[in-house]
């Protein structure tokens, strides 16, 4: 187990380093000089040059990379070109919306998908199964932003039950939560469809294994074999998808945030890209990538908890 942990941690560090290099390099090739963007079209060339100097854009490339990396490690993400405030503060402010939204969506999608997948597998070929697989098929095909628009049209505009968009901030917790309900549903439903499908097929595959026959031969009913033996074995692919979904929900909210005019991380990145606020883009994308990599690390640890073959290789 110690060896497994150490290897995974080393590979985690390597992935993070590689990702930081890729992001830094990608930002370098983005056309457009941030200094000219900040000062506008009509700025004098020497003012621009002075600003470039001040922003550290004239330093050698390698030096700037190391500087950026050292800053990241200390939580210093630099100063936004457009907002003129520390990037860390900007990101933290946006995360206060995006992280709860992603969490809410994840809980919702899991709470929907797990029972649906289990019922479908347990009643394979019956009405409940057909209903779940049919709904899941449609759920996967629905673009979440269109689904969001339809939710707004019905729940916000026609029935006036929930706000159509905007975010009042956590100072008003009840209103803030209400503002997140429709976005969370819009995000969660397609993900729930994917998760339910994966769980169903993993369960069905597990039910075809020899050890299920053994379990049935010792007197377990089909349902007991499903919940006691197949479910745990089916969790492994489900964990993989859950891990991927968390990061997708964090970043994939970008379009949903557009529909609901939510000031989240996705919109921050989107606006920063169009305004060439590269330092914000760099740090925010890095943060998302860190989230993905850390989540996949946690998923690996979860595998080891589920599967003794990883924990105690023979």
């Amino acid at each position: 187990m110690a060896r497994f942990l150490l290897l995974r941690t080393l590979s985690l560090a390597a992935s993070l380093l590689a990702a930081s290099l890729v992001i830094f390099a990608a930002i370098e090739v983005v056309p457009g000089d941030p200094a000219s963007y900040m000062l506008g079209m009509n700025a004098a060339p020497d003012t621009v040059a002075a600003l470039r100097d001040q922003l550290g854009l004239n330093e050698p490339l390698g030096w700037r990379y190391l500087h950026w990396l050292a800053g990241l490690l200390q939580g210093d993400f630099g100063i936004s070109y457009t907002y003129k405030t520390p990037v860390s503060g900007l990101i933290a402010e946006r995360l206060a919306l995006s992280a709860p939204l992603a969490g809410l969506a994840l809980i919702l999608s899991t709470a929907l998908a797990l029972p649906a997948g289990l019922i479908a597998a347990a009643r394979r070929g019956k009405g409940a199964d057909l209903a779940v697989t049919g709904l899941a098929q449609i759920g996967i095909a629905v673009p979440n932003f269109w689904f969001a628009m339809m939710l707004v049209a019905l729940f916000a505009l026609r029935w006036q039950l929930l706000p159509a968009g905007g975010f009042p901030g956590w100072a008003h917790p009840a209103a803030a939560l209400r503002a997140l309900i429709l976005p969370a549903i819009a995000l969660a439903l397609p993900q729930a469809a994917i998760l339910a499908r994966i769980l169903r097929s993993a369960l069905i595959e597990a039910m075809a294994q020899d050890y299920i026959r053994t379990a049935r031969a010792k007197g377990l009913s089909r349902r007991a074999a499903l919940t006691r033996h197949a479910l745990r074995n089916a969790l492994i692919p489900v964990l993989t998808v859950l891990g991927m979904q968390f990061s997708f929900l964090l970043a994939g909210a970008i379009i949903i945030e557009n529909v609901f005019y939510l000031p989240g991380l996705g919109r921050l990145i989107f606006q920063a890209i169009t305004q060439r606020d590269l330092i914000v883009v760099e740090s925010a994308v890095m943060l998302l990538v860190v989230a993905v990599i850390v989540v996949s690390f946690v998923t690996d640890l979860a595998y080891a908890l589920v599967d003794p073959r990883l924990r105690r290789p023979a």
Binding site: L6, A215, A217, K218, L220, N233, P313
Partner: protein
Amino acid sequence: MSLLAIERLGVSIGTTVVLHEVSLRLEAGEILGLVGESGSGKSMTALAVMGLLPEGTQATGSVRLAGREITTLAERELCRLRGAGVGMIFQEPMTALNPLMTIGDQVAETLIVHRGLARSEARRIARDRLDRVGLPAPRFPLTLFPHELSGGQRQRVAIALAIALRPQLLIADEPTTALDVTTQAEVLDLLRELAHEEGMALLLITHDLAVTAQMAARVAVMQDGRIVEEGPTEALFRAPARPYTRALLAAARLAPLSDEYLDQGKATGAFSCQEDPKPDAGALLRVEDARRSYRLPRPALFAPAPARHAVDGVSFALHPGESLGLVGESGCGKSTLTRAILGLDPLSGGRITLAGAPVSPRMPPAQRAAVQVVFQDPYGSFDPRQTVARLIAEPFHLTGRPPDAEARIDAALSDVGLSPADRDRYIHEFSGGQRQRLAIARALIIRPRLIVLDEAVSALDVRVRAQVLALLARLQAAHGLSYLFISHDLSVVRAVTTRCLVMQAGKIVEEGPTADLFTAPRHPYTRRLLAATPRLPETWSTLDPPPASGA
């Protein structure tokens, strides 16, 4: 009253009838062997007794266990019966246990499900049962997971959970087919002992007549979903009434190569004279101190990585025209050695020469053409998307396609007993035995000097196996081929080779003329292998005409 009484049991899937009026009786404490070739309906009969027939099957007739009709039982009642009144073990121990659950919990589960015992009490009994099947406490704690056990040990766990509640009937469906011979002997001993000591009836399903002869007092022979013959094992095997049973027995009792055959072979120069081994004179294949080791994961982070010596200093020579056997159990290194001889994998030490030139993964095509191979799995040996003509012409890649390629494809097909008309068919249209014939045709087509037969008949039913072995012998005499015959099955090796090597843990432990090796083995391992190999008793001869029975 019989413990188990099956009467006129019929099972069909859609319009296909898989069991046809099967009737069987099994008394308490009795061992009944149910034998037959693959697809004869043995397993389906067992599943019907368990009430575990696959969905979509319809059953007719009656199955009574201790007087209780089970074909009409509700699923809930069947669950109560399974595991308590009747236990079952299956063929594949590697996959029969839940990989995520400890062996203790898996045995205890039987007790918890049926008796509603507390976990601690169930685990106490589980401990006792595991002790009983030969997995004693200190070495095999309840907390082990299946992947930490060998195949034989896993089969013992499967037995422990099947007998946890001391059922009156245990069904064992090919319980030792996936195991090595020495492990097979141990597991069979255990089953016999359990039946004897616990008064448990055993329905032993197997394709292996020798295993049946050793284990069962009574035997039933199945063919195409019917019981064709049934009776006390010895009497039935001595005097089978049905031609099918006689054919099975004849095929199972592989005769060693006959003296006339050997003499004839020597006279025509087809075999070298193995009584006069001159190791250096004109060997076709020479293996000298071959070694191949794999690095294992480090036990601790900075400890040196230990190595596993799969092949550990093997030397031997194979002479032109010779048929050399190589036997050993799984993991002995014979597969690794085979891959090196075929020039697929490199050696880490020593050398192999074929017809005087060194063998390596980079050897030139012309040299590679001196050796061809027939693999074990008739289903995985052919690309499903190519026609037979293209498949068996594949080795022409080594020699360049000769002008008479088409004629040679036809000739190769005829040679192995198939028709040239088969050339445009696809592989899924052929049976397992036909596929092995095609594999032989593919190996023959460029007239290699050596054919490596890597468990080439192990996956075949006995009658087909006998036919393919006869074909191999005929082809060897006709074309002056040399065979390297690799197998785990001693009886097969005995039937087709003149000289034999025994491999254990990467080393050749014994070498000599096959006849001597089987009659006077010198190495203890060879003796153990021979003792463990089930054999039809020599005295139960079926080669004599069946006694005329008036009744």
